[in-house]
Chain length 437, copies 2
């Protein structure tokens, strides 16, 4: 089974765990069998592998997520990364070109496309396999998965099928409706449109070529910034006449808000947290290393991260976006291809961060124009290069770098260091990369 | 007016702002006219000065609070510091000996004793002056302030007066009652016992000498650890027959819980915090440098500090003590006589802290047996002494100290530094002080 997982952009509705550089699908919140935690993307990736060990998985995403995806899924996962963000149609088209031109998949093969973050069980992946088989049969150009509407939601578009068969023609699409309209659609047998479909790889490519001329993946990639934002539903699904829908009656949840996310959590507390017996329906997700104490609360979610602290009535939490937009949103934690960093302290004229490098990885060789830096290695060992001079470093070693001085650190084991930045203007923009000497 | 302010021990009922080393009276939470914030102790000290510019104020407290008191009230305030904590009677007795033997106050003068943390207005301090005048008149050995009971509280002892005069004999004392009993006492004209009284200085000293032999302040100080814990009410007030009570009908609040503390706050938010329009009766006190977002909450207090995060129904918050006791209570922020420090990061084998020294102050000259340290000065200037070697330091300078090496820093201006501690066992106990060479 060829599968394209669409990994969407950053959202703020799960602040403070999601932010401008960290999307909700990377939050490690689901308990695994070995006692650890996995993220939405890790959960879905594992579930696909369990349903089909041979599945050919490609993640379609933006450049900013490449590091996080490699960190969470390993180095081997195929990634089709948009150079800039367009809407779903072009992300799918670029991934389709990646499958054909980079991976060498035949346009005659079928492919299933689905979002990376539904909260589902094994039956969903079995349904995806059926969807692919149906696409291979070629009865229609496009086969959608229609999700049994659990309630008259105003958040999803609806697919109205021609009849009540398991696989049937699509009669019509309906935009996100009012609750009243939604009840009407459901009475007519309407299904949620979860953005899941299967088709021949060649079909996707043909649809893309109808919109713009391109020869192959590389060509499409290069002209990507000239493309017009357009969604797959608008560009293709709503215009296609040879289209079927397959009914999926199983569990399908979109964990896009704290309200829905906490429903899917097996444990009320992730991280350090204590609640008294008077708490009801309270969830704590704490990424800080200080304890949270909750007392006498009802239906409240509490989440703390280096970005901030949310305390919200669960229902009310879905309206958080304007508040989060209005806040100071300096990034205080980021995953990088080489590891991660966390801001510990911000003062006028200085900033202190903790840097963690994975074994065998290194930062870019770089310099800063307006700040000096001091590194103190607190664990692990490796090598630093400062203006071309290489030296071994280990726990306790101190390296000072003046503004303008080129530097990097190469981790032999996992290596952690405290970096003190000193300068009048401290900014992530103040960075010049150099080729390694 | 001679006044002894009793500054009580650490309490956990205002966690995470109060902890084992930081008592509630030092939390800066009340808005001042100049736009800043003042603590309970600063507020009361200022109010006394406004009521009586000539007041002779002595703070009776424990050793651990000396730094915080000097930081908040200045270097000149008189402090009578118990070498170890006994109950109220001995704290008062030691302070009385301090007034007589260190400050040279005549035993014939009167003194008023009161807790450092009532939330009161100007009329209270006027009442204290009246209380002192009444003690000077000598109609009784002891004159208590009886606080008009605002409600049938179970938290206070009650003073039952002989009649309903403004100043009258005490008929009897009652221990903290049930609410029902409290209503009975109030019906009998009962007043709250807020631990406020006036008497001759010599009376207090005589009562102390009846309990134990001592010649003067120094002698009492030296035998302090052999004394038996005993409260003033039990040792003196309840046995005294020449005793009056003066009625105080004004505002008097004991801000010992989040519920009462937030009632006294003029602003709903102290520190970085945002709430939506659906919040009612919500208070945010945030000492962290990340934002708090509150949505859809009713009668909730949220407080965040380097020690932890509290989210509690206001009524429920008074039951927090056992939960706080059960948590990891490593100290992450402390005021010192020379400034303060804050823990930024704790890893296995290392800890990173930010140290702030006040201008003109220095740490003790000290060494650690089991850890190395690295200082990076991030603002200000001063001098470091490392194994006797003195050098000027300023922003950007780095000083490394191996285990065993003696060191200190002397701040010329306010000076901040990042200290990285590296060692297998990092503990506040690992410190040897030396005389400055």
């Amino acid at each position: 089974m060829n599968i394209i997982l669409l990994s969407g952009g950053s959202g703020k509705r799960l602040w403070p765990l999601s932010n401008d550089v960290r999307s909700k699908q990377f939050i490690k919140i689901f308990r695994t069998k070995d006692g650890g935690y996995e993220s939405m993307v890790q959960r879905v990736y594992r579930q696909i592998r369990e349903a089909d060990a041979e599945a050919n998985i490609t993640v379609a995403t933006g450049k900013s997520q490449i590091s996080a995806i490699h960190n969470q899924l390993g180095e081997k996962v195929a990634i089709s990364a948009e150079p800039c963000r367009k809407d779903t149609f072009w992300a799918m088209a670029l991934a389709a070109a990646h499958l054909k031109d980079i991976q060498g998949i035949s346009p005659q093969e079928s492919v299933v496309v689905c979002p990376v973050d539904p909260y589902v069980e094994k039956d969903y992946f079995m349904a995806l396999k059926d969807l692919v088989s149906q696409a291979e049969r070629g009865e229609a150009n496009l086969v959608l998965l229609g999700i049994g509407a659990a309630y008259p939601s105003e958040k999803y578009g609806y697919i109205i099928p021609a009849d009540d068969g398991d696989i049937t023609a699509v009669k019509t699409f309906q935009e996100k409706p009012t609750a009243e309209k939604a009840r009407e659609y459901i009475a007519q047998g309407g299904l949620w449109n979860g953005g899941v479909f299967a088709c021949k790889l060649g079909y996707l490519l043909k649809k893309a070529q109808e919109q713009t001329d391109f020869t192959d993946y590389q060509d499409l990639y290069e002209k990507y910034d000239t493309l017009t934002n357009i969604s797959f539903d608008y560009a293709v699904a709503e215009k296609e006449t040879s289209i079927q829908v397959m009914r999926f009656p199983g569990q399908w949840k979109d964990l896009g808000t704290w309200n829905t996310l906490t429903e899917a959590m097996e444990e009320a507390v992730v991280g350090q947290g204590v609640m008294d017996e008077a708490c009801r329906g309270v969830h704590i997700v704490n990424e800080m290393d200080v304890p949270i104490l909750a007392m006498g609360l009802k239906n409240v979610v509490i989440s703390a991260s280096p970005e901030g602290i949310l305390v919200a009535d669960k229902g009310q939490s879905s309206y958080m976006k304007p508040f989060v937009d209005s806040m100071d949103n300096r990034i205080r934690f980021a995953e990088k291809s080489w590891g991660s960093y966390r801001v510990l302290d911000v003062e006028k004229g200085s900033m202190t961060i903790r840097v963690t490098l994975h074994a065998g990885h290194s930062m870019n060789y770089h310099a800063h124009k307006y700040r000096d830096e001091v590194w103190t290695v607190i664990s692990g060992s490796g090598r630093t290069v400062v203006d071309g001079m290489e030296q071994k470093v280990e726990r306790g070693d101190v390296i000072t770098m003046s503004a303008g001085c080129r530097h990097t650190v190469i981790a032999e084991t996992e290596l952690k260091l405290i970096e003190v930045q000193i300068g009048e203007e401290i900014s992530v923009e103040d960075k010049v990369k150099y080729d390694f000497c």
